[in-house]
């Protein structure tokens, strides 16, 4: 058995680079240091694999040669008047670069999954800028960590351990012991109430009453503090020193209320979006008195009412805080290379997503040139999907128009989108079977490794896209 060290995880935007993959022959036997999400990908990537190109004939997807599948793709794209090229966040920067060349060649629209995750964040950043840093800075220096509308326990499981409250920094101690002792106390308390519920009827009610919705347990001065703001008590909230529950759709109000409090303005209300004003005043005090604060925000802000305005308010809050202390803000990016997709799009076209080449030059207008709007209006007459599954992640009307027209899917596995496709081309898993470059959520580039060989005939995305581009150029003369 061989141990491949320093493997970068191709799952979420944390891109943990300390994985050790144990390889036996050409199979992955085990993986060390990975979270449940990363481990599930490394261990299970081969289980539901598609290794043969498929082309739809007489309504059925049937096996075809790679040449036939490439030819069919090239015909569809070359003959389309307004094709959409979508996905890109689960592949390498090198493949994205070829995808942009292909989009320009066919005069289509190219969009990445940012459009349904942090698209509103980018709109807000373009309005008001963003004070950012690397995750290393946060690990070593941040003494106040806030997760707002984000649940890293479920979506970025090692984020807290590697970069924030549970990491051992040069100037900040990890808060492991505090959380462990709290966990033990909480567990003992629950056991007592459960025992009580066996003895008398009201025991279960006591247990529920004792599980307070909000948490406010400030650690000793000088220690790292973890704050979670969300609409429900997530597993991340269970770890927090402070958990504040906001009414759904109330984030904008709470952010603006905090801005007012930080400017020493008085609010003549008892609560804002379900949060008592005393709690907000105490949180504002904590923020102002932090030496290095960081606000991580997730889809709880970008997908709720207000969308980009929520993010604008959050960025302006950090801007206000920088009058008194150092405070930064960072989006929690989902797919492992969604940040890379934004970077490659920007360096090639000037815009991070939703780029329209139909006029012969890049144009950008989210709301018009973004994938869901194009599909909902029924404008696209063909779609190429690379390493993504819009049938699962887009709303119904967009999907109805997506599957009505010719659809090409380039993906290592069969997805619901692939089931509705006209051409399916299997590829190598980037980061497991193919090398490439990815960008972590803090814009740090990292090299993805090839730890095993792909099945025969499964080429990297970049190579498949180059073959399609070459054939499209030949057809278009």
């Amino acid at each position: 058995m061989q141990v491949v060290e320093g493997v970068v995880c191709p799952f979420c935007g944390c891109c943990c680079d300390d994985l050790e993959v144990i390889v036996e022959g050409n199979s992955i036997f085990d993986v060390r240091n990975a979270c449940a999400l990363g481990a599930s990908k490394f261990i299970g990537y081969g289980k539901h694999r598609n290794t043969r190109p498929l082309v739809r004939k007489n309504g059925e997807l049937v096996e075809a040669s790679l040449d036939e599948a490439i030819e069919r793709c090239a015909e569809i794209l070359a003959n389309a008047s307004y094709p959409l090229l979508y996905g890109w966040s689960n592949t390498s920067c090198e493949a994205i670069r070829v995808g942009l060349e292909l989009a320009e060649e066919v005069g289509g629209v190219i969009d990445n999954t940012t459009t349904v995750c942090h698209g509103p964040s980018i709109l807000a950043i373009q309005e008001v800028g963003i004070p950012g840093c690397t995750l290393g800075q946060i690990r070593h220096r941040a003494d106040l960590i806030i997760y707002w509308g984000s649940n890293p326990w479920s979506a970025h499981p090692r984020h807290i351990e590697r970069y924030t409250a549970l990491s051992e920094g040069r100037f900040q101690r990890a808060a492991w012991k505090r959380y462990l002792s709290r966990l033990i106390l909480e567990s003992a308390r629950k056991k007592r109430y459960r025992a009580a519920s066996l003895v008398f009827k009201g025991g279960a009610a006591l247990l529920e009453a004792a599980e307070k919705e909000e948490i406010w347990m400030l650690p000793p001065p000088g220690e790292r503090k973890l704050v979670v703001v969300d609409v429900q008590r997530t597993r991340t909230a269970d770890l927090a020193d402070i958990f504040i529950r906001v009414e759904p759709g109330g984030d904008y109000d709470v952010l603006q209320a905090l801005r007012a409090l930080i400017r020493d303005e008085e609010l003549d209300v008892d609560e804002v979006a379900g949060v008592p004003i005393e709690r907000l005043e105490a949180l504002a005090d904590l923020m102002v008195n932090a030496r290095f604060g960081i606000l991580f925000f997730g889809l709880g802000l970008t997908m709720s009412v207000g969308r980009s305005r929520n993010i604008e308010a959050a960025i302006k809050l950090t801007r206000d805080l920088n009058r008194y202390t150092k405070f930064l803000i960072m989006p929690m990016r989902g797919h492992f290379n969604v940040t890379g997709a934004n970077i490659v799009f920007t360096w090639q076209t000037g815009y991070p997503y939703a780029v329209d080449f139909s006029h012969g030059y890049p144009r950008y207008n989210p709301g018009e040139t973004s994938a869901i709007d194009i599909l909902t209006r029924g404008d696209a007459d063909a779609t190429l999907v690379v390493a993504s599954d819009p049938v699962s992640s887009f709303p119904r009307r967009a999907v109805e128009n997506l599957v009505r027209n010719p659809l090409i899917v380039i993906d290592p596995v069969l997805t619901p989108t692939a089931l509705m496709a006209d051409v399916v081309i299997p590829t190598a898993f980037v980061g497991i079977e193919a090398e490439g470059t990815t960008y972590r959520m803090d814009h740090v580039p990292l090299p993805l490794k090839r730890v095993v060989e792909p099945p025969p005939g499964c080429l990297p995305d970049e190579e498949i896209l180059r073959m399609i581009l070459k054939r499209v150029q030949e057809i278009r003369g």
């Binding site: 609409v231 939703a354 869901i372 887009f394 009307r397």
Partner: protein, 129 residues
């Protein structure tokens, strides 16, 4: 009964979303509706019963799941996936992003079965070709 729907990520959904979307495991992890126990009593549904979630766009059947994390009545949580997305609106209000969290839905108990992924695609989008 009317509820506020929150969609989002769960660790179980994440473990199957990258490579096993056609598996039964993914269906079990994603075609669920996490509810406050008080709401379940009011709706007269038990853990594992089927419920129908309805919007102006359409309806979908998923399994009810008791959750103590949803402390306040009137809120339901469904993981991201093809089941819940089939009933979401597409309006992006100029942002490119549809409203995937915090909109009103109706929920009622049902005896209809939960569709597997292939049946769901067939029912919602018809036969391709």
């Amino acid at each position: 009964m009317d509820f506020t729907l929150i969609t989002g990520r769960t660790i179980d959904q994440g473990c199957t979303k990258e490579h096993a979307k056609l598996s039964d495991e993914y269906l079990l992890n994603v075609a669920v509706c996490e509810m406050n126990p008080e709401d379940m009593k009011r709706l007269n549904v038990r853990d594992g019963d089927n419920v129908k979630i309805m919007t102006d766009v359409g309806s979908v059947i998923v399994k009810a799941k008791k959750s103590r994390r949803i402390r306040r009545p009137g809120i339901i949580f469904v993981p991201f996936g093809p089941w819940i997305n089939a009933i979401l609106p597409s309006e992006t209000e100029g942002t490119g992003m549809p409203p995937l969290k915090g909109f009103r839905v109706r929920v009622e108990p049902t005896d209809e079965p939960v569709s597997d992924i292939r049946s769901l695609l067939l029912k919602n989008y018809g036969v391709k070709g």
